[in-house]
């Protein structure tokens, strides 16, 4: 006998007339899913801006964001697994896809994307692998030996370092990055399509949904890469200060590199932010103007029930404030950091307002549902689909990055 749990009843409050079977079935993990996928796609697009369009100012960022998108890759799948009622059958989405379903494409799109990211990283780092394997040769110690074996395996037997070979590597990176942009876009656009194509849901159903998702994905991806980079640089600066004192040249160098990079990358961030907001506003205005049957309930959800979440937290605090912060001349590291955190928060709120907001009203259009996020778990379900589950998902890419960065150093700016 299984434990009797009505999925969703735990965290759903019903107000007014709601059909008996209606609950918040898609909870925090489905908020996390497009958020994490968005970060992956965004991080990759950022790195491709350098590789494909030769945006030289993004050179440092490119390598880091590429490796970071690799760390985010397995995390995009995690929320889905945590959300499934039958997680052990999750693999069937890959094995027996039913192609009229938007989710069924996941296996193909996601694996294609993973292959592109991994191979691009391989081409970017091949020379490094070879150099490392050569440098470690003959060095004493078990750790060095082990490291050499790992690098040997990573070269896949391609040891050639001739000019021609390196040139071909670069060409491959460029091609992969170029293919990767539409695939990353598709990966996330299709996440938008999952929602946009649900005709039963008045809030979700919109052809603009995939495009809105792509734009906000790029925004969040860039913001996360910038923020992580900033934190790591601050840490390095702090260590340099401890070692050499505040006025040392290396500290100044670090500071200069960091600020320069932030100013340049934030320009791209703002561009995509404007695009994202424009599309969202278009969607809202269109709904308000056409006033379909669902508009009455949507209006009450947007302007009354969820007003604070949508207009104050998402558009105000998450979009407008960071936009102004980044626009004011004389950008400082601290101001950038605040703006980036706010941007990330804004995109998260956007996902929340779409996923949870879409379930905030009943299909009967006569009632509302409120979602109470389980904070302290008391069973597996409230862990998986509660704050703790979400935090687990958030923490994973950073743990992965810590490990991956040991093999693929993506922060070696001083060499350049």
């Amino acid at each position: 006998m299984h434990e009797l749990i009505v999925h969703g009843a735990e965290w759903t409050d019903k107000i007014g007339f709601v059909y008996p079977n209606e609950f918040i079935y898609w909870s925090i993990q489905i908020v996390m899913y497009p958020y994490m996928t968005g970060l992956v796609a965004g991080a990759f697009v950022l790195s491709s801006l350098y590789h494909v369009f030769d945006q030289k100012d993004l050179k440092e960022m490119a390598r880091f964001s590429l490796v970071f998108s690799l760390c985010l890759l397995p995390v995009a799948m995690m929320p889905l697994m945590l959300h499934l009622q039958q997680p052990l059958r999750g693999i069937e989405v890959m094995m027996t896809p039913h192609f009229t379903s938007a989710i069924a494409a996941f296996g193909i799109v996601f694996s294609t994307y993973a292959v592109i990211v991994i191979s691009e990283i391989w081409f970017v780092y091949r020379v490094f692998f070879v150099e490392q394997s050569k440098a470690l040769k003959g060095q004493p110690g078990l750790a060095n030996n082990f490291k050499r074996i790992v690098y040997n395996v990573l070269t896949l037997g391609a040891y050639e370092l001739s000019e021609e070979a390196v040139r071909q590597d670069k060409k491959a990176v460029k091609i992969l990055a170029a293919i990767g942009i539409p695939v990353a876009g598709f990966l996330h656009g299709y996440a938008g399509f999952i929602f946009g194509s649900v005709k039963a849901n008045a809030l979700w159903m919109s052809p603009l949904m995939p495009v809105i998702f792509i734009m906000s994905a790029v925004v969040s991806g860039i913001a996360l890469c910038m923020l992580t980079y900033l934190i790591i640089m601050e840490w390095q600066k702090f260590r340099a200060i401890l070692a050499k004192g505040r006025g040392d040249a290396s500290v100044e160098l670090l500071r200069g590199v960091e600020m320069d990079l932030m100013t340049k990358t934030s320009r791209y961030l703002m561009m995509f932010l404007v695009a994202a907001i424009t599309l969202e506003m278009l969607d809202l205005i269109f709904r308000g103007y056409t006033q379909m049957k669902s508009w009455d309930i949507l209006r009450t959800v947007m302007f009354h029930e969820d007003f604070v979440k949508i207009f104050i937290l998402q558009y105000g605090l998450g979009n407008l404030v960071p936009f102004i912060l980044l626009l004011i001349p004389g950008l400082t590291i601290r101001r950038t950091a605040i703006a980036l955190v706010l941007v990330l928060f804004g995109v998260f709120m956007m996902r929340w307002n779409v996923v949870i907001g879409g379930q905030a009203f009943s299909l009967s259009f006569m009632g509302y549902m409120h979602y109470d996020l389980p904070i302290i778990p008391h069973n597996l379900e409230t862990f998986k689909e509660g704050l703790m589950g979400a935090l687990t998902v958030v923490a994973t890419p950073f743990v992965l990055f810590w490990g991956v960065n040991k093999l693929l150093p993506s922060l070696t700016f001083r060499k350049q």
Binding site: L4, I5, V6, Y19, L80, L84, R89, A200
Partner: protein, 256 residues
């Protein structure tokens, strides 16, 4: 033996094709599938609800829960009855406590007492899966665990459902939910295990007022088909293009 890369690849491909062919051929001529395709050509299950006859006793909900092993006290149900009270100010007051399982014994709706003098009309509307001709739930299932039988009923394979909830989201009628025990998508099946044996559904059998009827659209002599063909019947949420196959007599515009 001389074996170039080309020949190796060629023979590998040939071997794979040779290995898969018998399996797929067997699948093509599966006797069970042939029988299912040709056996009963003339069945399309439909349902008729006469809202004028429903008194909201909830016996259908009770019968359904017991017949289909949906936990009795869980707030989810395969079929339910809604009560509508329309007042003179044009407002509709709707409720369905426990899906109407225990009938509607309290005059209060949503904790609110309605002055009987203000009531202009009041009625009950039973709901169940519409077994749509164009079911969005089947379309969105990522693994094909939910499917439509050749006689029009949408079923869920409990051994295959991954529990993503996409079908629940896709259904405009809110008939789907997660089974509290099996942890997979659950829905009304028109009591497929009964109708395919020539019996009627549990809810139809339990209804003392014949407000619910099941019939076969392909049979012109079927009493339900006759009503659907000759009288003015309505369906729920036509605008979603799902082509619902549960027909209502006396459907009010306030019904959601």
């Amino acid at each position: 033996m001389d074996c170039s890369r080309r020949t190796l690849l060629k023979s590998a491909c040939a071997a794979t094709a040779a290995a898969t062919l018998p399996i797929s051929a067997f699948r093509l001529f599966s006797p069970a599938e042939c029988r299912a395709e040709t056996g009963k050509p003339g069945t399309r299950w439909i349902f008729l609800v006469d809202t004028e006859k429903c008194v909201g006793c909830g016996l259908c909900v009770k019968a359904c829960k017991l017949e289909n092993e949906v936990p009795y006290d869980a707030p989810v149900t395969r079929t339910w009855v809604e009560r509508y009270v329309i007042t003179s100010d044009g407002k509709s007051h709707i409720d369905s406590p426990m899906g109407g399982r225990d009938g509607f014994t309290s005059p209060k709706i949503d904790g609110q007492e309605i002055n009987p003098k203000e009531i202009t009309k009041a009625f009950f509307v039973p709901k169940l899966c519409n077994q749509c001709d164009n079911p969005p739930c089947v379309q969105v299932c990522p693994v094909g665990a939910t499917y439509q039988t050749s006689d029009g009923v949408v079923l869920v394979d409990r051994k295959w459902c991954i529990g993503c909830g996409y079908c629940i989201m896709a259904c405009p009628y809110g008939v789907r939910f997660f089974h509290p025990e099996y942890k997979v998508a659950e829905k009304c099946t028109f009591c497929y295990h009964r109708i395919s044996k020539g019996e009627t559904t549990a809810c139809v059998q339990a209804c003392p007022f014949e407000a619910r009827k099941i019939g076969n659209l392909r049979d012109p002599d079927d009493p339900v088909t006759k009503i659907v063909m000759t009288q003015r019947v309505g369906v729920l949420k036509d605008e979603y293009g799902t082509k619902p196959q549960v027909f209502y007599l006396g459907l009010d515009r306030n019904v959601r």
